[in-house]
Structures are given as structure tokens and as C-alpha cells.
Symmetry: D2
């Protein structure tokens, strides 16, 4: 069945799979000490314009959030996030499982605003009882956000400014980073992110890989004994090559950007189809996720022909649903959708 | 360079990779709810002769040990293991990170003996202070063990008997299970394991897959909300298909057993080469890992031509090193070794 | 200096200390297995009108919240609380440190409302992704709340109803329970609490004891191996008698209620003094905490003569401060306050 | 019944209780910020001959071990201890609950030997896989040990030397420290301990207090935000005075040493009685615990008249039992024992 259910419905971009094939029988050392990991790291540093960056590969998004946050926070600290942030809502309590509180702040369109952040932190330090409270120890944002929205460069810089004033690393979850960077409606580049954030990750799982996220520490701030921390959290792959080869492929000849650009063209087309059909938007995002309101009868009927995602109930008879494009979306998929909508 | 360094030096068995390729563009649901996961589970149940088994896929060995142990143990319990067990020594404290003690017992050849276990548990319950101690809540063994040794069927049954008397699940770490099952020196079958153990896993990472372990709960004893537990521990893959397709391939036409059999033939050949060269064995195992003693000059010289693993220092001038075969070892590799030894 | 800073400014009620003195040299078994613990439990069961109650003693409030919550929750669950609840704000992340999320809901006057709770839980189970989210596994309220407010019997029953529908234990933090029960503005009795809550605690630290809280499980629902859980969390006193003797004294001849009644008479007098002086209330509570707004100059001046607590900044020139009475407050204290205000 | 069951059978030394009484109604700030805590800290610094020491009060021994160890260890580290150490055996897994492994080493008479420690650490760093293992991050000893034995000054210094070479803090559990210091068979003083250890605690619970342990950080090495860490672990007393007043009393006029000396005189007398009665010693210690072997019929008969502790089964018909003296033991208690043995 044609699917717009998510951006992880297909395997890997064919070029990624091809490289796994070509390197398959080479004997390589384990645990990420192979040459493909080294090459991929070098290419990522170059793409970020950040020669001093420390790059590490992990397998999935929740794992990455859990490990980055729990290794960067001190014992007395929690992570600040939007109330709708992925770590706040859809990670089964992975951060709390690691012993840290998510300090949830109000948001708009999934984004955390620098003023809200500053006010919160000021109020925290102004509270005479703050030694009995959870200290704001880092700030988590995602770009694109849960709702597909994007920070502007000015917004990112404003957040970074508050973070630096209060000595809180700024951590950007880039599970869908490629789609954000290739949106037609952004002024933010990968270099901007490397410059403003203390740590971020470049999502592979949703952007062309079978699995894998590349974490980038931009300030020589990778926690000591990081491999041990990964192992202890059950996340160290024996065959680290699986991640190294994929990211090496994704960052060769700008593949990561090219396949993201394709997904964004498909997203533009998707928006056009939805508008054309007069469907009400709940949130029309500048990236690859589009949220629309359908009446429940329509939902039931449509489900028989295409896949999409439940988002939330709107009222007794209407539902918000999500349509996603990705690197694997084709024009044929969109023509089919146009036909059945 | 020719490598006997470990059983995870190569990618995946070509047939596994072929199936990843063939299924790559099929749109599939995420999080292990795809048809390949379902098929693989069905085939594993059949191979185990255990139609009621509950099968779940995870990415790596330490992760699997951590998740199985921490979801099966009660708050007051720890896991009993050999002092040399993988969970005791080489997992960076992953079990303790999950809040549980590893109760380490003496071993012989890496194996835990039923009498030692019974004595320990009896003594625990005989201690009037045991409410202030960590309860033995499950028993961890590996097969093959860290040293490549194997339990006999009688030994497994004896352990299982003690486990049942004291209501402790018996958990078998099968990271190298295929190699154990295809050894010429075993009377233990996969069905025996499914019958005697409460939970075990069939290792993929070291036996033909890019990554992946298949956990088998044999007594309808999978912990409630297990997917949530996996997610919370950062271990849920968005593209569960990566594991499903691989295990589906491994359990089609007995591939898992055939590739394991090949590794064992190569191991027999390796033992022959080592004997032929008059090399002293530290431990000659019935499976794919062989431990020999080399003088340090020889180690240095040999390292230039083949890869192998440091195991431990023997004395001031000698070292124990490990040579492994795997599904990817070739006769040419062994001829090369014969030539350079 | 005269102090209204908190309800833990003095040691223990003299009668409590007298009993510690009288029993001091009796040789008694450790870890709460002494006769005074047994007697105190019996008296508490009687006072609660709940003969089947299981009573356990712990040392302080945060400890009690952490232990009760972390032993009653399943791995996949979090605790629902008001955004202003003590576990949400002022316990340094003790619940998250134990691996569980606090699911924070909107509140009014520090209270959680049954409708808000029901809506949240319904929405949770209505979300198709809820297996990837933290399950609401129990409900935490405090009575009196952080703001000194009280639930009515009808409100408690409405909360209990939702809790039962969704199989969530209702946990009441009674750090200041005596003051709530002896308020002139409540229709809730100790028996009502034992009847509507699944577990609650009777605060000693703030109500006449040197330290100590009595946890009451009302449904034969004390977690298995609870003593082990307490020990493992570092909270088991060798000299359990310290808690047993104190609670035995507090529940002999209704001392707990009498000293609470005195604190409430002092609170009434405090309100009268504050009104008489024309001081603006931020929140006039029915219990022993009163929140008023003072201009900052007044705060500075008053601080030289009496102790009180900072609550929060109101605006650039005004501050919310808290005055507390307790069992140790005297009429002379209030006369002094009247004189200096 | 006359009791030799433990060193925590009585309440507090009368002088300690007297001071609690005298200070009871003084209004004091909470959370350890009162003047008695300050005074007690000053007196302890003086007694230790360590003016720069940072002193903190906690409630019990397991809690202290858990908090000190978990705040001093890095994420990748575990604590080294004797296999028979309290943290290894009798704390219900409190250290593992805090996420850290106890690295258990062989012992003799409950003591860890510097050579064993050095060999272990050397072997750890000599292992090429040590990045996948738990790093030895600190060393735990107790003095007296679980068996009442004592380190010599030379032994302590030898341990400290290894600890410094490998940058591992040396932590001494002094739950029974007074009894060790006042033994007639020791050359170790409190100053020696402050000089050789990086952190240690002076036990109150077993040595004259109702509860309480005084932690001493000797190298300006108290973890940052330590109060927050205590709170987060549920261990911060609202009425910190309870600990401050007690330790202030214990360190006034050498009370701590005097009551310990009394306990040791009683221990000498106990040894004399046991010898006189021809009872076989399992371990005759230089401190307040004596371990003897009784036949089971004798155990049953004696239990009717005096209390003592089960230690372990010796063989089918004999049991090792423990007799303790403490500050509360009287000559009459010993006369009674002499009469009934």
C-alpha cells in the first residue's frame, strides 16, 4: 500500500545499501574503530565547517537523546525542553529512566522561545530554595520540531545566547535535520547549527539510512569515557561499520542533502495536493510533515487505500492526521494520493 | 589483513544482505510491526520446537542482557552469573547501571555448575539476614561461554532444576549460539535450550547478521509492556524491519545453522593448524574461539601479518591470545595462517 | 529570634521527647521490629478505622514520596501530580532519580481536579502512540497542599473514582496531615482518607516529631519485600525504635490531633493579626501556612525581628512571603508579631 | 532481656539525649543550617586535626555509603571493596541501585590488602579491553571491618599509596569507628585516618547516637551541590538539628571517645567471660564484636536468656554467633552472661 505514514517506511537509500554491499566482506575492527567510521567523521566535520568537532555514531533517536543528555548533565541537573518536545512526550520516559527530569516549558508551534527560556532560568536562580530544585543543566530543541516547524537563524542565536549566559549546553535533536536544512523556508545552514549549538545530531534513520544518528560535539565537549558510557547503556554496536559505512555514503557527493532535497520537493507537491483538494490544514509545515484535519468517515475510507498517521482527536467527529514525505516518496505516490483523496 | 580477531569482523552473510536489498523499498510499518518480523518470529518458534514462544528482536548483546535482566528481575533481586560471565566482566557495568547486582559465583571453564548454584542459594535462604541482602532472582549463563566451552544437556538440565526449585528464571546468552549448536562436541539442540531455559537469545551479530539478537521467552513470560521497556531503554529501532528481514533470512532454509556449521569446520581446521605448528593451547574449545599461549616476540611478529585478540598476560614474556573463526572465515585465510605461523 | 519560617523550626513535642527518654535504655531489636513500632502501627490502624492497614515508618517526606512512588509504579509508569506538587517542584528530582516521570497537570490552588485528571487519562489512552509514552500509573496529591489548601470530601472521592476506573493507586502526601484534619474548614477525617486513598502518609516531621512519617497502605497493597526496598534505597534505620516510640507517643491520648489543633488555633490567630494589620493576602489558607504580599522594604525591616519564608517575587518591589504556625507556636510569638508588624 | 545482639540495641547516650532535650524548643533553621550543626562540624574538624575538612551529616550507614560512593564515582567507575565488605553483602544492593558496580576483591579477616589491590588495578589497566569494563574509581574499606578487625597504620598507608597512584579516593566506613579507635590493639588514631583517607565517616548510630553519621571529606573534595544530591536521594532531614545536636554532644568533652572506651572495656570483659567458659572462638576481634562457635542445642537454650546474633552455619550441628558490646553494655550484663553461659 502507498504510505505517507512516516519518514521511516522504507529501508535505506540505494546508494547507502550499495556501499554496505561493496564493503561487506572486508575484515574490519569492531566498536567503531574502522576506517569507514573515521572517513564518515571527517566528512561530517567538513560538512559542518567545524574541524574540531567530535563525531560519534549511535543507532536511534531516543537512544541518542538519552545518552547525550545523561552524559552531559550533572547529578543535580535536568534538561529544559518544550512541553511538546520528543523527550517530553514520546520517549517512554527515557530521560527520567536515566535519572533526570525534563523541565517542560511552554512552546509555540513546537518551538522554545529564548524569552521564555530566559524568564524560566532567571526565575529559577531567583528562587531562594533552588538548591532543593532541579537545576536547568542543558536545553533540548529539535529542528525540525515535532510539528515540522523550523527555528530561524535569529531564534537559534537568541537561544544560544541565553544558554551561554547560564552555562547550559544547547542540544539540537536533528532526527529530521536534512529535511529542515533543505526546506525552501529556512535561513539556517548546517554550519549555523554547528556554530550555535554545543551538541546536535544528524539523523540518519529518517533521512536515508537503515539506522543511525551522528552526534556532533562542537566545543571539544564530548564527555570523557564516552565509549564506556555508550557500552554501559547497551548501545555500542560490535559492528560499528554498519553506521560508519552508511554515514560515509550519506556524506559522499552530498547525498544526504540531495535526498533531503528530493523529500522536500515531494513535500511541496504534497502540500499542493492537499490544498488542491480543499483539505483543512491543522498545521502546514515548511518541512516534510503536514498535519490536516479529516472527518472520521473520510479517515476510515482513506485508510483502505493509503497509510498515514493518527495525530490526535480534534473533536467528536474529526481527527488530526499526519502525512509525511521522505527520500523514498515518489511522484507516483503523490499522483495516487491525488487520485484517492 | 587476514583477521581471526573476532567473530564480528565482516558484515552480514551475503544472503542476509540480499534480502535487505530485495525488500528495501517496500513501505512497511515501523517498530517491529512489519511482516518480516512476524515471519521471522514464526520461523524461530518452529526452529525451537516451541510454538508458544514469544520472540523479540534487539540490536546487540549487552543491550539484550541489560533489557532481559532488568525487566525480569524484581526490585529486590540480582542476577547470578559466573565470575567470568560477560555480564560480570565485559559490559561496562550495564547490569548495575540498570540498578541490579550481578551475584558472581565461582566457575570452571567459564561454566556455572548446578551444585555451586544450589549451595549458594541454600546458603542465601539459610542466612537470617537475607532480607537485607540481594535476592538471587535469575540465573545467567552463556552457551558457548566466554571461553568457547559448552554445557552438556545434563548440565543444563541440572541448572534448570535448581532454577525451578528456587523460582529463578534461567537465562541463556546465545551471542554465539549457532557455533555452539553446530559444534561436533555437543549433545545440546536448540529444542533442548528452548525446553530447559526460561529465556534465551539467538545471536545474530556474531553469526551472520549486521546486527541483531532474537530473544525467546519460552514460558509465556515476556514482561508486560515490553515494547515500552525497550523504548524507555533507548533500544527500539524505528525500522524494526532491519532485524526482521535479517532473522527471516537466517531462519529460511536453515541458513543460520549452515553458516554456523561452516564456521565450525573452519574452527576444526584452525585447531589442526595450531596443533601442527606445535603451539601451546591455553584452552582448546569445542567452538569457534581458540586460546593459545605465544611468547611476546612471536606476538609482535605475527601481528604484522594477521589480526587476533589479546586475552591476558600469562607471565612476563608470554601472552594468551585468541583466534576466532566465523561464518566469513575461508580456507584461504587458514592457509595464510598456516604459512605465517 | 521568633520564627514563623516553617513548621519544622522546633524539635519534638515534649511528650514525644519524654517517651524517647523513658524508653532509652531498653534493649530492643533493630530495623523496626521492636514493640514500640508494633504498638504505634496498631494505634494508627485504629485511628484510621482501617484494621487491615499496613503501616511502615520512614524518616522524611521526600524519602517517603520517593520510596512509595518507586515501589508502587511499574517500569512503564509515571506518577500524575499537580504542576505545583512537592514531587514536581521541590524534591530535587527525587522521583526522576528513581527512574520515573512526574506527569504534571494543571492545578488550582495547588489542587488536582478530578475532571482534569480524567481528561488527561482518557486522552492518554485515546492516543494511538501511547505504548511509546509514559503510562499514568498512580496519582499523587498532598493534603494540605503546598499552598495549605484542602480537598473536600467530595473532591477526594471524585479523584478516587477516576483512579479506580483507570487502576491508578491514589497516594496522598500528608506531610502536614494533622493541620489539615484539625482545620475548622474541612469535612475530611482520617477515616475518609483511609477509605478513599490507596496509600497515604501521616507526617511526623512537621507535626510534633523529631523526624518520621507513617506510611499507610490501605488495601493490603504494600509492595512485596518492602523492607528490602527501603534498605536498598538507604532509608532503613538501624534504630527503628526512634520512629516507633515517637509515633506511639503521637497516637497515645490523641496527642497528634491535640497538637495539630493547637497549631490551627495559632493559625487562626495569625490570620487575625495579618488582617488586623491590613496586610494583603496572596493566599489565605484554611491551614497553618499563610501567604502574604509585602513590599521589599518591609521585608527587609521585618527580617531583623522575626523569621519567615520567601515564597516568590511578585513584582519588582513586592514579594510573596509565607508565615507558618505549628504545634510549637505560642501566643507570645503572635503577640510579638502583632507588635512588630 | 539482656542483649548482646548488636551495637544498636539502646537509644542514645544519656548526655546526647539531654542535649536534645535542652535545645528542643529553640527555633532553628532547617536542613542542617543551624548553629549546632556548625558547632559539631567545627569540633569534628578539630578532633580530626584537619582544619580544612568538609563535614556533612547523614542519617544511617547504608545511606552514607550509597551517597558518598554515588556522588564521588564517575559514570564509568565502580567501587573496589572486600568480598565481605558491608557494601558487597549486606546493603540489599544499594550501590548497584545507584548504578555502580562493587568490584569485589579477596580479603583476609575482612580486610583488603594493598598488594591485592595493586595487582587488581594493574591487571585492569593492563587489559586491552578495559574501556569496555568498569573502572576502579574508588576504594571502600571499613574500620573496624565486618568482622571487627582493624587495619594497622602501615596497612592503611599502603592502601592510601595505591589509591593515590591510581587516582582512586580511599573511603573508610567508620560505622563503628569509635570502637576501633579505642581498641587496646590499634596504632591508628583519628588524625591518621583523616590524613590517609580521602573521605570517611564517623559512625553515630552504633556509637552513642539515636541515628547519624558524620561524613568527613579531607581534601576539599566534597562533591559540588552535595545538599542537592542528598535531597535527590531522599536523605535530607528537614530538622538537621537532630544530627547537629547529637554530634555536638558526642564531640564535647570527648564523649565519643569516652563511651567508646567503655564499650571496649566491656568487650575485654566479654572476651574474658567467653574464654573462662571454654567457648571456642571463630574470630576473636580486637573490637566490640566477638564471634564464637556454639552447638545448636546450646544456641537454643541460651536464646531463652540472652540475645545475640546468628552469623552463619558452621556445620550441621554448630553455628557461628556474634556477641557485641556497646556504650550501653553494663558490668551487670556481663555478670548475667557469665552466670548463664
Amino acid at each position: 500500500m502507498i504510505s505517507f505514514a512516516s519518514d521511516y517506511i522504507a529501508g535505506a537509500h540505494p546508494q547507502v545499501l550499495k556501499r554496505l554491499m561493496e564493503t561487506n566482506l572486508e575484515p574490519l575492527p569492531g566498536y567503531g574503530e574502522d576506517l569507514y567510521c573515521a572517513r564518515a567523521k571527517e566528512k561530517i566535520r567538513a560538512a559542518c565547517g567545524c574541524p574540531q568537532a567530535q563525531v560519534e555514531f549511535l543507532t536511534g533517536g531516543t537512544q541518542t537523546n538519552q545518552i547525550v543528555i545523561s552524559t552531559l548533565l550533572g547529578d543535580h541537573q535536568g534538561v529544559v525542553a518544550a512541553k511538546t518536545g520528543h523527550v517530553s512526550t514520546h520517549e517512554a520516559g527515557a530521560i527520567e529512566h536515566a535519572g533526570h527530569k525534563v523541565l517542560e516549558l511552554p512552546q509555540a508551534g513546537g518551538k522554545l522561545c529564548a524569552d521564555t527560556l530566559r524568564e524560566f532560568v532567571q526565575s529559577f536562580y531567583g528562587d531562594e530554595n533552588h538548591e532543593h530544585m532541579v537545576f536547568p543543566g542543558m536545553v533540548y530543541i529539535s529542528h525540525p520540531t515535532e510539528f515540522g516547524t523550523l527555528y530561524t537563524k535569529a531564534e537559534l542565536e537568541a537561544l544560544a545566547k541565553v544558554c551561554r549566559e547560564y552555562d547550559m549546553p544547547l542540544f539540537l535533536d536533528g532526527a529530521r535535520l536534512g529535511y529542515g536544512l533543505m526546506s525552501g523556508e529556512t535561513d539556517v545552514t548546517l554550519e549555523d547549527i554547528a556554530r550555535t549549538c554545543d551538541v546536535f545530531y544528524i539523523g540518519g534513520t529518517k533521512v536515508g539510512a537503515l539506522c543511525g544518528e551522528a552526534v556532533v560535539f562542537t566545543r571539544n565537549n564530548r564527555p570523557a569515557h564516552f565509549v564506556n558510557a555508550i557500552k554501559k547503556r547497551g548501545a555500542l554496536l560490535a559492528k560499528g561499520r554498519l553506521l560508519g559505512v552508511q554515514f560515509d555514503a550519506l556524506f559522499t557527493d552530498s547525498l544526504y542533502f540531495e535526498l533531503s532535497r528530493h523529500a522536500m520537493e515531494m513535500a511541496q507537491e504534497l502540500r499542493a495536493v492537499l490544498h488542491e483538494k480543499g483539505i483543512e490544514f491543522y498545521l502546514e509545515s515548511p518541512t516534510n510533515q503536514q498535519f490536516v484535519i479529516l472527518d472520521d468517515a473520510k479517515v476510515e475510507e482513506l485508510k483502505k487505500q493509503v497509510s498515514f498517521s493518527f495525530w490526535e482527536k480534534c473533536d467528536a467527529h474529526h481527527t488530526v492526521v499526519r502525512f509525511c514525505t521522505s527520500w523514498s516518496t515518489t511522484r507516483e505516490d503523490l499522483e495516487f494520493l491525488r487520485a484517492v483523496l
